[in-house]
Each structure stands twice: as C-alpha cells, then as structure tokens.
Symmetry: C2
Subunit: 276 residues, 2 copies
C-alpha cells in the first residue's frame, strides 16, 4: 500500500474554518500528551481549539497485507537481526562521499514512523556543506568542554571512560553528511496559531530508531549523539524555527578503514525479554 499525502494536508490549506475557543486545557492541568511527554520548559499547553489536521470524516480503506508463512517469517526476522547486530556506533569516519539519493531514501524511511494523532512532528536536516559542518563542530566542542569539566559530574565522566572520547569531535567534519533530527514541539498554522504535537519527543525518537535501521540497511555507519546544550546554537546556524528542537545529531558515512570500536557486548535475550 503506497501512502500518499494529499496536497491540501501538506500545505495546511484544510484549515479554513478555524475558530478560537476556550479549551479546558490549562497550564495547571498539562499532562504528558499535551507537553509531548518531555517536560521541556517551554512546552506550551495550547489553549485555543483549532481544526484538526485530518478531517473528522476521513475515509477508512481496506488494508492490503501480503501474509508470509511462519517459516518465512522466522527466516526474515533472523536475517534482519544478523544485519542489525552488525551495527556499531562509529567515531572514526572516512571522508568518502555518500550519494545524496541514499540520504534522501533513509530520511524517507524515517518519515514512515508513527506519531501521536499522525502529526509527524519532525524535521531532518542533512548537512553536507563543509563550512556548516565546521560551525556545528565548533559549537559541539565548546559545549563538550563545559560538559566534561562541569555539567556532567564525576559519575558520567567515569561511566563514559571506556569509550575513550573527549571534547575533540573530528567525525563532525570528517563524515560526508551530518543528519540533525529535530522534534517539532508544536505545529504552526498559517494564521500563526499553534497546534498540539502530541508525544513529539517519543515519536521523533522512534523515527530516529527507524532512521538507524535505514542507515544500517543502506550499508552506512553512524554515531547516535544527543548534543547536550548545543540545540539553540545549532538551530541558529541552520536557521530552524523556534518550534524545532534538536534531539539527535548523527554523522553518516563509511567507517574509516582503521576505525575501532570498544569491545562491548549486548544483553543476551534472557536479560532483554520476559515472557508471560
């Protein structure tokens, strides 16, 4: 089933009869849904009722599903595990270029993620401009110095020691692409009013997990980073609007030929899974 978005939804022109009401959502009653589930300081609770993004009488269609046999299902799930289990977080990248079409395809995959009320509260910024990569690296390295020295505390520094990382982030200029995953904490209507983006952080992180699968499936490598305190500066560099907040920063490319990874292991199934 090919899913296509009608032009009117894409451009928000369905919002023709939006009216302002006093909704019964108040600051004092904000909850996990209204705030997106993240507890951000500037998560607003929106108090004006607006038209829904999707028409209330939206048609429902039969779902076409091609069912495979149990044997085939076992085989496919095992093969996908083998492929995903090869993934490691990479900190040493080759500068070799990656085709733009691959980057576009992996972002399209991330865009298939589910989201609260199908609000699709995410934006993916793909940076290949060397100067912009350098600016982003400068921001991250400056913040990381403070993070290591002051913000993070002794336990964090101790818990990260096995990674042998420091404030120098060469991969941010070496990798051919930087993918920046922004969550949209709210949506904007053409008339300037805000729209709730339910569960925006969880939804965007789920899209980030799907992005990781797409990167691995395309034969590329990445590093999943959460650039603490870098969001506002990077948003400025990329000229993103105030409703977008940086969630993940991921260099994407091929590993350097001499890339190393810590000799880590993963939890075995019996620690991961409980059957009831």
């Amino acid at each position: 089933m090919v899913v296509r978005r009608p032009p009117q939804a894409a451009t928000n022109t369905t919002i023709t009869s939006a009216q302002t009401f006093n909704a019964h959502t108040k600051k004092g009653t904000r909850n996990v849904i209204e705030s997106g589930g993240v507890g951000d300081d500037d998560d607003d609770v929106l108090t004006n009722l607006v038209e829904p993004l999707w028409p209330e009488d939206l048609k429902h269609l039969p779902y076409t599903f091609n069912r495979v046999s149990a044997e085939e299902s076992i085989k496919m799930s095992r093969e996908f595990y083998d492929k995903m289990n090869e993934r490691r977080t990479i900190r040493f990248f080759s500068p070799d270029p990656v085709p733009r079409e691959v980057i576009e395809n992996i972002i399209k995959v991330a865009g298939t993620a589910p989201s609260g009320a199908h609000t699709e509260p995410w934006t993916f910024v793909a940076v290949c401009d060397p100067e912009v990569k350098q600016q982003i690296r400068a921001v991250v390295e400056m913040e990381e110095e403070t993070n290591y020295a002051k913000r993070m505390g002794n336990q964090w520094v101790k818990d990260l020691k096995f990674l042998r990382t420091d404030c120098v982030k060469e991969y941010l200029t070496m990798a051919p692409w930087l993918l920046l995953v922004f969550k949209q904490t709210y949506g904007m209507l053409p008339d300037g009013r805000k729209r709730n983006h339910y569960y925006h952080e969880i939804s965007t992180a789920i899209a980030g997990g799907i992005l990781l699968c797409a990167i691995q499936t395309a034969g590329l490598a990445t590093l999943t980073s959460t650039p603490l305190n870098c969001g506002p500066a990077i948003r400025g560099i990329l000229q993103r609007p105030p409703n977008e907040k940086l969630l993940l920063l991921m260099p994407v490319g091929y590993p350097a030929p001499d890339a190393t990874v810590p000799d880590l292991t993963r939890k075995p199934l019996e620690e991961l899974m409980v059957t009831v």
Copy 2:
C-alpha cells in the same frame, strides 16, 4: 561483527570495589542526562559514585565493515523504504498465532539499539497468556474512559476523531502477542544502590523504532500505543520492579482479513528534509 556480552557484565559481578562518595550531582543541578531526559517526577539524581558498568580500560578492536558500492547502497535503501512504507498502524488483528521464535528475534533486534553509556535501559515483556492480556485490556479500557472524558481535552478528542477509536480495545485480547516496552529509569546494583541510566527514555524510544522495523521486516503488524496513566497498574500485573516504567504497548500479529486503515498520507520528502 558478532557482539557478545561477557558473563561478568551480564550478571553485574564486575562491581567488586564499589565505594560511596559524595558526587557533585545534587537535586538542584539535575539535568537532562541525569534524569534521562524525560522530566519524570521520580527520576532520582543518584548521589553516590559507583563503579562504571564497563571497565575504564576496556579494549578497543578494529571494526570489520563490508562496504558496498554506491549503486548497491541506493538499491538497498530504496527497497527498505518500499518495505517500511507499507507499514500502517493496525487496530484490527487476526487471532492467528505467531511463532515464539519470531517474537524472540524481533526483541533481539530491538536490543541492538544504542543507549547512553551503553546502559541498555530497557526491558521487553512479551505477553501471550490470554488471562494476562484480558487484565491489561481491562486496565487500558478503564483509563481510556477517563482519558476521553476528562484528561485529554476537547482538542485531543477532536484531533483523534479521524481514527474512529474509542475506549474499547479489542485488539489487546485479539492479537496473539502484546509487547510491552519498559524503560529502566535507573539500574540496580547487587548491593541495592542505584546506577544512572542516561537518556533512558530517548534510548528506549529509539529501541522501539528499531522494534517497529523488525516487526515489519518479519511480515507482522502492530499498533504503537502509549497507554496514558496505565503504567503502574500494568507494571503490577506483570510484576515488574519499580525502576521500570511502561513506555509503549504494542499488540503484534497479523491484520484481520477485513482490517481497515484511515486514508492517511505521509509528508513528502520536501517537507521532511532540509539540505544544507
């Protein structure tokens, strides 16, 4: 590269010389890393320094990477998009059984997710017992009645109307499996002290996204739900410890032959992606 976890890490017996210090993390200085990035009320900031989960002098090994051609990469990324783009959230399930091995494989895939300081802060509970499924359904339906009537507000009810959902959740007993994704807000040492689980919510949601890819790749269907206010009761039913909090509840199985989906579309690439 096959990743294996050494037995001592799996059983936490590496913690042999743990000592108690006054760390400089205090309630007043808690930040996104220490709290897991979720702003939960009961996210503790841990004030005692403990031994790291992974030894500080952990070996680093060469990363074996099989590089594919640009053409192959384009082809694989396009095929993976086609597969993932077929995924839809399903609310009508067939009771047909799904092999346990498939469920184990998809949870193993989710367990390949990255996490802050490789703390792997997640537990996946797979429920196939009909009575337990019924108990979970009863909790969800009771809370959903309150959610629709009071908690969620007019805008939420309006924004969800196109889905044609209500408080009756037949899929929770119809689907052969319920997968419950718990985030571990902190870790437990054998001596009862707590260990920081950095970025536990984002990490677990990313694992949830990888789980979605695994479900789709295995030829199965699911519904990604965030059961508002049901966490404590469901944790009780499943006898999970207090450091585990429910993040996602996902019925897994085959769609019913007459399953329908709303006639939704997804953002096109030009709304999803910005290139710099």
